[in-house]
């Protein structure tokens, strides 16, 4: 058993567990977006950041992938963390201002659409990869993938053509945090 503290509360966990696992189990709320218990963590959105003090220094890390260690002090609600999270929410909100999940987060962090807003986009994909991971890990098909690189990176079917692998099961729709998948869905299947 590994003993450490989250927000001053002493908690225990086993090896391979992550900070997020333990925090959620103890009812400590850490906002997440690209995390889903059905798939392996991926660390794309960085919204789940926490401050971890390992005795030598204090760092901002993502809790969904940070394995717990003996004696670390985890802080989930500090001005530093809130600042990081607010900026992340700000940038993501500007990409998909109409998504209910983003609106919920925006109200929570008191963020409004800003000068970064992309014109005319309501449900932009954040490239969190949840749909790709769910299609692969949960369904076992590989009908979705990332296409292109850098600024042009997008979610698409392999080779940008209708995928015969797609079962139209709707798993990607279910896990999509922004609702961008709805627009993409019909283009994926063969």
């Amino acid at each position: 058993m590994i003993t450490f503290t989250i927000d001053g509360k002493e908690v225990q966990g086993q090896e391979d567990w992550t900070v997020l696992d333990v925090a959620k189990w103890h009812g400590i709320d850490i906002p997440t977006l690209c995390y889903h218990p059905a798939v392996e963590p991926y660390g794309a959105c960085r919204l789940c950041v926490v401050e971890v003090d390992d005795g030598r220094r204090s760092r901002v890390v993502i809790s969904c992938m940070y394995p717990i260690r003996e004696g670390i002090k985890v802080l989930t609600d500090t001005p530093r963390i809130n600042n990081v999270r607010r900026w992340i929410v700000q940038l993501l909100l500007d990409e998909s201002p109409a998504s209910p999940k983003m609106q919920e987060l925006a109200t929570k962090f008191g963020v409004t659409p800003s000068r970064f807003k992309k014109a005319g986009v309501d449900f932009a994909c954040h490239l969190c990869g949840l749909c790709v991971r769910a299609c692969h890990e949960v369904v076992g098909a590989q009908a979705l993938t990332f296409g292109n690189r850098g600024l042009r990176k997008e979610i698409t079917s392999p080779f940008h053509t209708g995928s015969k692998e797609c079962l139209s099961c709707g798993t990607c729709l279910y896990v999509c945090p922004t609702g961008a998948m709805e627009q993409l869905f019909d283009k994926v299947g063969a």
Binding site: G13, Q14, D16, W17, T18, L20, D21, V22, K24, W25, H26, G27, D29, H36, P37, A38, P100, A134, E137, V138, V139, G140, A141, L167, S168, C169, G170, T171, L173, Y174, V175, C176, G179, E182, F185, D186
Partner: protein, 807 residues
């Protein structure tokens, strides 16, 4: 698994998402009289600490069935089953009730009120788990050769691969020497012969290898059995049938090309098809001069055009290599991309082969010695000179040729003429290993290289099955069980099964009980719901389990509430999508997810009404094109139709039951559907509870169990694409009226039984009890008395007094 206290219930708070909307402690209170071994609320059962805590409880209390009240089973079930596998909990032992998407997020009621609904759904899950039966997979042997049928070229590649790995195979081929195979190749793969590397070597190796038995292609009389044990009956010339046994079947089927009608273009000496040209090439009869290959016929699809263009390019290369005097040009439509590499193009240029595209909108015109076409480069009409004009052949419909195979194997013709292994689309882990191999260009026009690769791949599939069997790991999950005692061998299930899971029987063997090939079975359950004798059981998903669930849920429903069945694809997905999108709908509907609406036994619907449910709504995928179980949703339509007719016969409202079609991505439609049906039923009173109505509902339920009714339901499937009706009916009204007649009669029979169980009655008394004119009852009563279902107990005032017969 009969001890009730082995069920563990774990409720999820989902970080407040569920617990803030549903009063979970209250749910526990509601469940206190239900049977369970452990009940606990976790903040997040799906996270590592939750799974660990669950495992501890399972081991400490010896739990063998788990119910998780949390979120979507589609997304989360795998996580639980993988984690709990270490403590011996398997997929079927986990039941998930989606409290989050079916209750918490979509309704606006108070947490206490929603707790009642949640508890009802959970007790439904408990009732179903209670009836779960132990589940033993069967180990399969895999001995004997692989049978390569269909006569396609890919069979050779498969046979060689198998032989190289030391596995025997029997190859049914059209030509029995390597040379003959080569000679006939241009009928299926024009232009491919000389460009496929070691093709001759492949054929020679196959013909000389002792592990491969090449036998002449014979008409298939039957294919029975399943993976590891196939029997193929071959019709001999003298009419007798010889049987060949094998462990696996590889279907290698190629699409043949028949000669195009060139007479409308020009005479046979100057205009020919690709196939003819190849024959001329073989004979060394190559004319000098300008040869134009015209890739026409867009009606055969782009793949066929691409294929023809490449074939034309190959043939021209062949011609110029042998005779530099020939000047070939390939004229192809501009919307087709030539699948040629840069090196190919360089070679074409070096040999002076013209590759010219034309815009497909303007049809090229053939003239004597010239051909005009519009070039996409300048939109000008150009002319090309020709001495010989070559057009591609017409791809034949493989379904016609392969009729004998299609009858026995789950391979279906698709629109567009190609064949496909099965229409059904499932999650890969829903099915065990692939056990039926289908290769060749009949599955889609493609290159010879591609086809040979397919054959090799199929052989590897067979080898992996053999490897698994050697290690003792080749097991079939027994999904469907046929009760030999009950099965009458009518074969309706075989006809209806979309996945090939119900094995065929030899023709002429009479009504013998069916066997199942669980390697192909998808557990859809359409067969079980159709079986007239209720002999088929989908293990872990039996009609009895669903019945128990319906009973348990309806016992806790209020009078104005209705039941909703959603299919696992369109219905369930859109229902859950509604929750994700934050849509709300009234809480008066209790959703029960099923595999497919087609797997709902007709008696389930009547059972729900018998239990006092006010109305039923069913949501499935749009018929045929998006139904994942072939025609499952159509099967269900007929059952609903019968239910409506029976309700009307009993003097109840037909609109109490309604079906809707919704796609995966249409949560708004789902919500509208629910609201609309609830609105329609709002002013309708609940089902009366008096004895008379109850007796009628009982009779409806009994009618749904009657083999004759189930037989009519099974045979009279409404398939939207079909214009023919079963039996002697020739139009829709006729077919429907026949169905109504059967239902009327069987309904009356059921009512008579119900009345006679309490006391023996004479026809006038029966007529009074049933509120029917005597003249309607007399013929039925006479029939029933004749076959002993009722007996004459005595006589009174000239009337017989009937009582229940024996058995």
């Amino acid at each position: 698994m009969n001890k009730e206290d082995n069920i563990g219930i774990f409720l999820c708070e989902c970080g407040g998402k569920i617990s803030s909307r549903i009063d979970l402690p209250k749910v526990c209170e509601f469940l206190r009289y239900s049977p369970w071994g452990h009940l606990e609320i976790y903040p997040h059962p799906c996270l590592a600490p939750g799974l660990e805590a669950m495992k501890k409880e399972i081991q400490a209390k010896g739990l063998d069935r788990i119910l998780i009240g949390g979120c979507s089973s589609r997304v989360m079930k795998k996580r639980f089953t993988t984690a709990l596998a270490s403590v011996g909990i398997e997929r079927h032992q986990v039941e998930m009730i989606n409290l989050k998407d079916h209750v918490a997020t979509v309704h606006e009621g108070a947490p206490q009120e929603l707790a009642r609904k949640a508890a009802a759904l959970i007790s439904g899950g408990l009732a179903s788990l209670k009836l779960l039966e132990p589940y033993e997979p069967v180990s399969l042997s895999f001995e004997g050769p692989a049978l390569i049928v269909g006569g396609g070229v890919s069979g050779f590649a498969a046979a060689r691969e198998l032989a190289r790995k030391g596995m025997e195979s029997i190859l049914f081929a059209k030509a029995l020497t390597p040379e003959k195979v080569m000679d006939g190749l241009h009928h299926t793969f024009p232009g491919c012969r000389l460009f496929c590397g070691d093709l001759g070597e492949l054929f020679r190796e196959v013909f000389t290898n002792p592990l491969v038995k090449v036998v002449p292609d014979q008409p298939v009389e039957y294919i029975i059995g399943g993976v590891g044990d196939y029997h193929v009956g071959l019709k001999q010339a003298d009419g007798s049938v010889t049987e060949v046994e094998g462990a696996a079947i590889i279907v290698a089927l190629d699409r043949e090309f028949s000669p195009a009608d060139v007479t409308t273009i020009g005479g046979m000496d100057r205009v020919c098809t690709l196939q003819d040209l190849e024959e001329r090439l073989v004979e060394g009869d190559i004319q000098a001069g300008k040869v134009v290959f015209w890739v026409n016929s867009p009606q055969h699809g782009r793949a066929a055009q691409e294929f023809a263009a490449v074939a034309a390019w190959r043939d021209s290369l062949l011609m110029v290599r042998e005779n530099p005097q020939v000047k070939p040009t390939v004229l192809y439509p501009a919307n087709v991309t030539l699948p040629l590499t840069g090196a190919d193009l360089v070679e074409a240029r070096a040999h002076g082969i013209g590759l010219q595209s034309y815009i497909p909108e303007v049809h090229p015109v053939v003239q004597s010695g010239f051909m005009s076409f519009v070039s996409p480069a300048d939109r000008l009409e150009h002319e090309v000179e020709w001495d010989t004009l070559v057009v591609p052949g017409v791809p034949e419909d493989p379904a016609v040729k392969a009729q004998e195979l299609l009858r026995w194997l789950p391979i279906y013709p698709e629109n567009g003429g190609s064949l496909k292994k099965s229409h059904i689309k499932f999650w890969p882990d829903q099915l065990p290993d692939e056990s039926l191999f289908f290769t060749g260009s009949a599955g889609g026009i493609c290159d010879l290289n591609e086809v040979l690769q397919q054959g090799k791949k199929a052989a590897r599939g067979v080898l992996s099955l053999r490897e698994k069997a050697r290690q003792g790991r080749l097991v079939s999950p027994v999904v469907v069980h046929v009760d030999k005692e009950l099965c009458e061998g009518c074969g309706l299930c075989t006809e209806i099964c979309p996945c090939g899971g119900i094995e065929h029987v030899k023709p002429g063997s009479g009504p013998v009980p069916r066997e199942t090939d669980n390697h192909l079975c998808s557990g859809g359950g359409t067969c079980a719901a159709t079986c007239p004798y209720e002999a088929i059981k989908v293990l872990n998903n039996t009609a009895q389990q669903l019945e128990a669930r319906v009973k348990a849920i309806s016992a806790q429903m209020q009078e104005h509430e209705i039941l909703g069945f959603v299919c696992g694809w369109g219905g369930l997905s859109s229902a859950e999508q509604a929750a994700v999108k934050g849509l709300k709908y009234p809480s008066g509907i209790y959703l029960i997810p099923v595999n497919c609406l087609g797997s709902i036994d007709p008696s389930i619907l009547s059972m729900a009404f018998l239990n006092g449910v006010k109305g039923i709504m069913l949501a499935g995928c749009t018929p045929t094109h998006s139904c994942h179980y072939h025609y499952g949703v159509d099967h269900c339509w007929y059952r609903i139709n019968a239910m409506k007719k029976l309700l009307a016969l009993a003097g109840l409202e037909r609109r109490r039951i309604a079906v809707g079609y919704v796609e995966v991505n249409e949560p708004e439609s789902f919500v509208r559907m629910v609201e609309s049906h609830l609105d329609a039923l709002e002013n309708l009173p609940p089902l009366p509870k008096d004895d008379r109505t109850m007796a009628k509902l009982w009779a409806i339920h009994a009618t749904m169990h009657r083999p004759r009714v189930r037989w009519v339901l099974g045979t009279s499937l409404r398939r939207p694409t079909e214009k023919e009706f079963p039996g002697s009916q020739f139009n829709a009204v006729d077919a429907d009226e026949t169905m109504l007649d059967v239902l009327k009669e069987e309904y009356t029979v059921s009512r008579i039984f119900k009345a006679l169980t309490t006391q023996p009655l004479s026809p006038p008394e029966l007529a009074r009890t049933l509120d029917e004119p005597v003249k309607n009852l007399t013929p039925i009563l006479t029939d029933m008395a004749k076959d002993g279902r009722i007996i004459t107990k005595g006589w009174e005032k000239g009337y017989p007094i009937y009582a229940m017969g024996k058995g």
